[in-house]
Point group: C2
Chain length 316, copies 2
């Protein structure tokens, strides 16, 4: 893929990955609708294989690689969910996965990656350390690097989550809100809305303590994410050029949310919906909670990106 | 109803309550199947209205009462889920609910009852204190007592959960396992299996620390539950005569499980299935985990009875 994914690329990705992913449910909650005075549709990627939407992109990227590029395995750096997804996709494709992970990643994410038979190399929780460590791993193994978001096949795969929302929800959706870390899910969702539901505005949500995407969209160039501070451990990275180009073209707004609202939203989802979502997921509900005037009375889809939480380290 | 519910009673109950309840999903988990070497079907009553199967029985009991008995309201004693269910059913039926609750009940359960506009009177966490306090409340208000389980309308309502399982699951179910506290869910499930899936054996599961149902079935009379000690706060009560009569007639086995297995099962469901269930629910998976020889290779439905947990007081 030379340019960002076309409608055809996303349709093909969805067919390509269909046996590797769940078509996850879209849930509603009367009580959260009542509290927020909105009409919310929660796309439950926490129920996705490996517990996160990342399975979509990783599956599409691995299944799109030519055989000769697969033979030495695939490699990546990731705080966790992409790592587990790539490990699982590689296993199904019959090849090896080499994963560079910050040693600070949640236990559950480390265990998942090991469980799929991948080889882990730990690094410091900085982009520099990740990239340097990965370079060493790739030069040793000859594995093919599959970037967690700056890759059009990844973006086309992530786009299928929003596509499923548009196929499932019959009311006119005013908004679709996704978390934004590296921008793979947000850019994919923007493209899916553009192709499949052009009247739906797609908004990104991220923590105030990791607001690089907000500043990047505002200023027109990629701000690196320097020393981000947030409980949302999936949203620490900077945007990539490929995801940023799509975001610049199609995204009107990125909303930043406070840490306490992320935690309150997480608790609300756990208590009211009885489902487990990770903090990186709950920025989308936090965005609704902090902007009631904007969203009151609207039909809004929220992508709950994942459900991998260390149960011993809950924020309450 | 003079005798235990007939097939017709259960069919009518299901129609009567259909607008007050969710038809909850039945979920599966590849990884838990792999770990337990079984084929499990989880009936998710944690997603039920008020977060527990109790909504079924309470709805049926309230909607079956003649108008003149409803006018002074309904009353009950309950550690929580039946209380919330009766409060919600009363509210929908346009009458008042008076609830006697042990002061030790989980915060989330107290708040739910208040949220439905019921009047709470707190008591000590003993059957004696519950019954005495209730007597005072009923004599003051003239409200109609709706017992949490020793009531045929309640049993017919709870029976609808298993009925939905049999309607949904197309493979032949070898077993259906339910938690047993007062025996409403177990006796209802036994009747549903008898009428709708006679080849399925229904088993009760309860904590070793509250094994009164196990001893009652073994000895042929109701052992009172004296100073039960378990994290499963929904399973503290003794059986009632009505539920015990059904259990004696149709139940072959009650399995007791250790506290550490209840907690391990709870964690496994939270981590692997990304859903929130209360400890009283997880005795059913604990029963499978402690009896692998018995259950290996079998098709087993497990009723996850509820999802109301104090998130600040988790057992890990």
């Amino acid at each position: 893929m030379k340019n960002y994914p076309s409608k055809k690329d996303i349709l093909e990705a969805h067919i390509r990955i269909k046996d590797l992913i769940h078509r996850t449910p879209v849930l509603t909650s009367d009580s959260i609708n009542r509290i927020t005075q909105t009409n919310l549709f929660f796309k439950c990627e926490n129920f996705q294989k490996v517990g996160a939407f990342k399975m979509r992109g990783a599956s599409n990227a691995v299944l799109s690689l030519p055989k000769e590029k697969l033979k030495n395995g695939v490699a990546t750096h990731s705080s966790g969910n992409h790592a587990a997804a790539l490990a699982r996709a590689a296993k199904i494709a019959g090849t090896k996965a080499y994963i560079v992970m910050p040693h600070t990643a949640p236990r559950i994410k480390k265990e998942a990656v090991k469980g799929y038979g991948a080889e882990i190399t730990f690094c410091e929780p900085t982009l520099k350390s990740r990239e340097e460590t990965l370079k060493i791993v790739v030069s040793k193994t000859g594995a093919e690097f599959v970037h967690p978001f700056n890759n059009y096949y990844i973006i086309a795969g992530q786009a299928t989550a929003a596509k499923e929302v548009f196929e499932k929800i019959k009311v006119n959706l005013d908004y679709l809100i996704t978390p934004v870390g590296g921008g793979g899910l947000l850019s994919g969702s923007l493209l899916s809305a553009h192709y499949f539901s052009p009247s739906t505005k797609v908004i990104g949500a991220e923590p105030c303590g990791a607001d690089d995407a907000f500043r990047s969209l505002r200023d027109g160039f990629i701000h690196p994410s320097i020393e981000p501070k947030t409980i949302a451990d999936g949203l620490l990275t900077s945007l990539g050029e490929k995801s940023f180009a799509v975001i610049t073209k199609y995204c009107e707004e990125i909303i930043t949310v406070k840490e306490e609202t992320i935690i309150a939203a997480m608790k609300m989802i756990w208590e009211r919906m009885k489902i487990i979502v990770e903090p990186s997921s709950t920025v989308v509900l936090a965005a609704v909670m902090e902007n009631q005037n904007k969203f009151e009375g609207k039909n809004i889809a929220l992508i709950l990106s994942g459900g991998n939480v260390d149960l011993e380290k809950l924020p309450w």
